[in-house]
Amino acid sequence: MFRPIVVCLGILDMTQRQFLLLCFLPLAIFTLAFLALPLARLILASSESEAGWAIYLKILQTPRYLSTLLQTVLVSVAVTFAALAISTTAGLFLVRNTFPGRSVLLSILTLPLAFPGVVVGFMIILLGGRQGLVNQLLPGHWVFAYSVLGLFLGYLYFSIPRVLLTVMAAAEKIDPALEEAALTLGAPSYRITLDVLLPALASALIAAGAIAFATAMGAFGTAFTLATKIDVLPMVIYTEFTLSANIAMASALSVVLGLVTWALLLIARSFSGTTVAAGG
């Protein structure tokens, strides 16, 4: 993309070139070191128990870790797909229709963006906890805050606005003539959605889904506030580190969590084109 500037660098006189290098190079190196060093330390730390590198094998052999990893992935996948389904439908509706109060509604929809995970967990308890709104209205049966459902809803609450905005931004860019072309060719609405709209949104959906998944995999505040009975990976890492002082295992679990998420982000990026998937 930026070939011409590289060429420019080639023809600047030495003073200017040195000025540029003086500015940029050290900072680039510093940035790299700052980002890579902690990671290297983390990977090293994971080998510093008696088990050595075999600690990764130990994760696979310990049912508690395995089931936690599985649970975390499952909840994250569920949240991702739910958020995609709800946001796509609502997003398409919002983009396709103008009505009074639409911009106010949009502002409300983006409000949850301002709340951290802790507050979201707290909201879920206010709604679905023992003294929660739902339990007060329908007593005795509706305490869901501390179950998988509560966690799921908390994560979903956190994800929907982010996915929604990505979907709406992508939907606004679809050439309206595409739908009109399908209409003149006799396509009914559901075929237009399937054949035109969803394919056009595909890369935005992949990108938004990847971000939702990564966020859910790493969510800590919500899970911690809910003090849920189900283990999620970030909480196990916290427990191993703070309570059990098992630094090597905490490091190893962190590396696994990072790898799973990173791999997914990379895959999503390769499907949806460059930096889209990395926005969040």
Binding site: A181, L183, T184, L185, G186
Partner: protein, 344 residues
């Protein structure tokens, strides 16, 4: 198919009148162009015919006598080529062309046969399995045409089908498009803002201005006998000869010219190709600038009329800037038209 439009008007939500009540009759197999500057209502008219927009109440659209005014797009059976081509990027060329046939739920073998037929007609054999993204502008245009034509529509509508192409390609593809439309043998309406495109492709041209049809006729009729100054200027770039008309004489700054008829109260126009440099011509002018255009020179002349006049000169030895020359214009080449109220 014969198309009859009666009382088609369009007022947008804000109150803007995009189209004033318009009547139009298009014969079977005819290719008609809607020509006009941007904002003249030509695209709105096309979209109303397609069913993509609704006309104001009171309109009537008939396809071969059948009233389709209330029919939705998908049952009108019109093919449409969009300005952006609007090809489905997630399908191959074949997938795009077959889409309308699939929507008609035709058997697979018939879809294949009909796609192959249209592909041959549009010379797309080499590209059938390619993705849309790999096609050039001209190929995309052919695919859009093939997709619109494959379901055998009653009417083909084209919205500025050449404006997405770059200038060099446009002239070449203009002829190709004209040829394809003739081969299809289909009634077609296409919208353009380029007079050359309209004249080269259409059997009849409807020149539109400010939401209404200013004149409709064959390219020759519009060029030779424009009804209004707007049509004369827009089709063939007629230049105003600002002066005084007395009886059948036109008095200009640089001399007087005979007209073919008495035209007092009218405006006189002339086209660049009709101004001749003649040593004994009745009009005196000064050469401002000379531009070589290949087949001829274009000469900017002052002093003959109030505004600068352009003349085309086909000879080898053009005059030089600063020269004084004499001009002649044949009386039948001077268009005398009613004074236009709208300045276009």
């Amino acid at each position: 198919m014969t198309l009859t439009l009666r009382n088609i008007a369009k007022t947008f939500a804000g109150g803007t009148r995009a189209l004033l009540p318009t009547d139009l009759e298009i014969n079977k197999g005819e290719i008609v162009s809607l020509l006009g500057p941007s904002g003249c209502g030509k695209s709105t008219l096309l979209r109303i015919i397609a069913g993509l927009e609704t006309a104001d109440p009171g309109a009537a659209i008939h396809f071969d006598g059948e009233d389709v005014t209330a029919q939705p797009v998908e049952s009108r059976k019109v093919g449409m080529v969009f300005q952006s081509y609007a090809l489905f990027p997630n399908m191959s060329v074949r997938g795009n062309i077959a889409y309308g046939l699939k929507m008609q739920k035709l058997p697979k073998s018939e879809i294949k046969a009909r796609v192959d037929e249209v592909v041959t007609l549009c010379q797309l054999e080499k590209y059938v399995s390619q993705p849309i993204a790999s096609l050039s502008g001209g190929q995309r245009q052919r695919v859009a045409l093939a997709r619109a034509f494959a379901p055998r529509p009653r009417l083909l509508l084209l919205d500025e089908p050449l404006s997405a192409l770059d200038a060099a390609l446009r002239t070449q593809l203009r002829d190709e498009l004209a040829q394809l439309l003739r081969n299809f043998g289909i009634t077609a309406i296409f919208v353009t803002h380029d007079q050359n495109e309209a004249m080269a492709i259409a059997d009849r041209v409807a020149v539109m201005s400010h939401g209404k049809v200013a004149q409709i006729g064959t390219p020759e009729a519009l060029y030779r006998n424009p009804d209004t100054a707007f049509v004369a200027r827009f089709v063939g770039d007629a230049q105003p000869l600002v002066g005084r008309i007395e009886g059948n004489m036109l008095y200009l700054q640089g001399g007087k010219l005979p007209l073919s008829r008495a035209a007092e109260g009218h405006q006189a126009f002339v086209r660049a190709e009709d101004i001749r440099l003649e040593p004994r011509g009745p009009l005196c002018a000064k050469v401002e600038a000379v531009t070589f255009l290949g087949a001829h020179y274009r000469i900017a002349l002052t002093g003959a009329a109030k505004e600068t006049l352009f003349a085309l000169y086909g000879g080898l030895n053009a005059p030089s800037p600063g020269d004084t020359v004499r001009l002649a214009i044949a009386p039948q080449s001077i268009l005398t038209l009613p004074v236009d109220k709208e300045v276009a």
